[in-house]
Every structure is written in C-alpha cells, then in structure tokens.
C-alpha cells in the first residue's frame, strides 16, 4: 500500500499536465509507505515515449533524503498517450530495490494513477490510498 496525500497527488498531476505531451518524472519520498514529499525531476530524454531522470538531480534528492531520514518510496512518471501500466521498458529498468513504480496516465479524459511493485521482471499492482480525496 502506498499512501499519497491529496495535495501531493494534485502536485504530481499538475506536473504531468504542465509537461504534457512529454513524459514527466519525479520521486516520491516519505516513511513507512506514506508519501510526504514530491520531488519533480527533469526528464533528460524530453520525449513523449521515454523518460530518464537527470542524474545530478537524482543524487541531490538521494542525499537530501538521507539527511532528512526519509526513504525513496516511489519513482513516478507519466504516460501521455498510453494506459497506466508498466511498459516492457519500465519493467526492465525498475532496478531500485523496494521502490514502487507509480504511473500517471494522461491518455484518457481523467488522470489515472496506478502503482506497481516490480521485482525481477515481474510487475504486481500495489493499492494506493489517497487520504483527503473526495473531501
């Protein structure tokens, strides 16, 4: 279970829409599966079908989380034109242990957010709880 507060979900969707039609990406951090921060990152590929996080930004976030005592809980990216399910490339490149893959699809009339745990080439859906949604 990944818990994403409504304000962070809104920020993530806003980031995805601002970057549309290119893929956007970022890191969700927190503790114990509860997200408390969203770190938007630069997609160096600048593509609508690929993303690659900017390594300097990645290192900066990793060091910041260490200082704050937080965990990298998820890597997020958008699918501007396809459903919120991991592509073969998403599965192949999901190597960070214990880090969820969160995909936001902007292909439909409403944003669709899903999370997956990917290990050893196998993707398993992970429930998302959004406290504050619908209030």
């Amino acid at each position: 279970m990944l818990v994403i507060p409504k304000n962070i979900l809104d920020a993530l969707i806003a980031h995805g829409r601002a970057g549309f039609p290119l893929e956007t990406c970022g890191i969700l951090s927190g503790n114990g599966g509860v997200v408390s921060e969203f770190h938007p990152m630069t997609n160096v590929d600048q593509s609508r079908v690929h993303f690659l996080m900017e390594p300097r930004e990645q290192f900066a976030v990793a060091k910041e989380l260490r200082v704050k005592g937080k965990e990298m809980l998820a890597v997020y990216h958008t699918h501007p034109d396809t459903p919120a399910r991991p592509s073969a490339e998403d599965i192949r490149l999901a190597k960070a242990p214990g880090v969820s893959t969160v995909i936001l699809s902007l292909a439909g009339p409403a944003p669709d957010l899903k999370s997956f745990r990917i290990f050893d080439g196998v993707s398993t859906p992970e429930p998302i709880d959004v406290p504050g949604a619908g209030e």
Partner: protein
C-alpha cells in the same frame, strides 16, 4: 581501504585501490550495469568505470538509473 559509500563507511580489506567496476562487484551491488556512480562529487561516464581508480578515503555514491517509457 576505507570508503564512504552512500553515506556509510565501508571497508574493503586486502587492497589499496580498485577500479569502479571492481568496487561495485566487491560491494555486491546488484545489477551494476544499471547504476550511475558519483566519485568525490563527480558523476562518472560509464566508459570510465574500468579505468577510474577508487582509493582509501574516497566518497562513492551510486544509484540506479531511473528511466522507462510508455511504449
């Protein structure tokens, strides 16, 4: 030699220097082909992993390359 690896002190016994590839293997980093490495604050090109030496006191950061795509 003693290194700082992702903020933690790690000791590699029996050697005073290894290249980056050897260091990742010695540290038992899973899927080392998928990591990006920063040595003493400088991000290394993958082509340099075999020729860049790590020595006592160095600060090594590594993280998994994060990418993918919708197709």
């Amino acid at each position: 030699m003693k290194l700082t690896v992702n903020g933690e002190t790690r000791e590699i016994a029996g050697t005073e220097s290894l290249n980056i590839d050897e260091t990742l293997v010695t540290l038992k980093v899973a899927d080392p082909l998928y990591v990006t490495v920063e040595l003493n604050g400088t991000i290394l090109e993958r082509e340099a992993f075999g020729t860049t030496q790590v020595k006592d006191g160095d600060v090594l950061e590594f993280l998994y390359f994060m990418g993918g795509g919708g197709q």
